[in-house]
Symmetry: C2
Subunit: 92 residues, 2 copies
């Protein structure tokens, strides 16, 4: 399936560390397309694994992680209205 | 069609003001579901209008706005892994 994963990690309770963990785990499975947005083709078991790995670093009171799932990439069109490339990646 | 709009507005060049404009324009057309993420059912002409309104506030060198478009909402499943409700809305 094709997924888009967006997260908003609060700065509360040492949030910078959680943000970094969530970023790195996402990057293991998906492509980075915007500051806190990843996308990519992923199998169901892989997605479960991703969720399990990420779980310890998500504070369910403060952090938001939303995963949009489409059965096929072609069902999801994408438009870039600003800069296209990701200039934030290089220093992460 | 059903869209998910995600943005990352740089703090460069008075970015806070651009962020606020982009937020308000998005909110006119879509539902706020995460800090910089909106979603909703929207017609093609409305999406064009949204883009036109937003255009002056997007710095194409610094800002990223990505719109994912699905023909139908039912083709896009959604999972919440952190907090579900949006606690950031009330002060915006």
């Amino acid at each position: 399936m094709y997924v888009v994963l967006v997260y908003d990690i609060s700065q509360e309770k040492n949030g910078a560390k959680r943000w970094s963990k969530v970023f790195k785990i996402s990057k293991k499975y998906l492509s980075h397309i915007q500051n806190s947005v990843f996308e990519g083709e992923i199998s169901k078991p892989q997605l479960v694994q991703l969720q399990q790995e990420m779980k310890p670093y998500i504070d369910t009171e403060w952090d938001s992680v939303i995963v949009f799932k489409s059965r096929q990439e072609k069902w999801l069109d994408k438009e870039f209205w600003g800069k296209k490339e990701d200039k934030t990646s290089f220093f992460l």
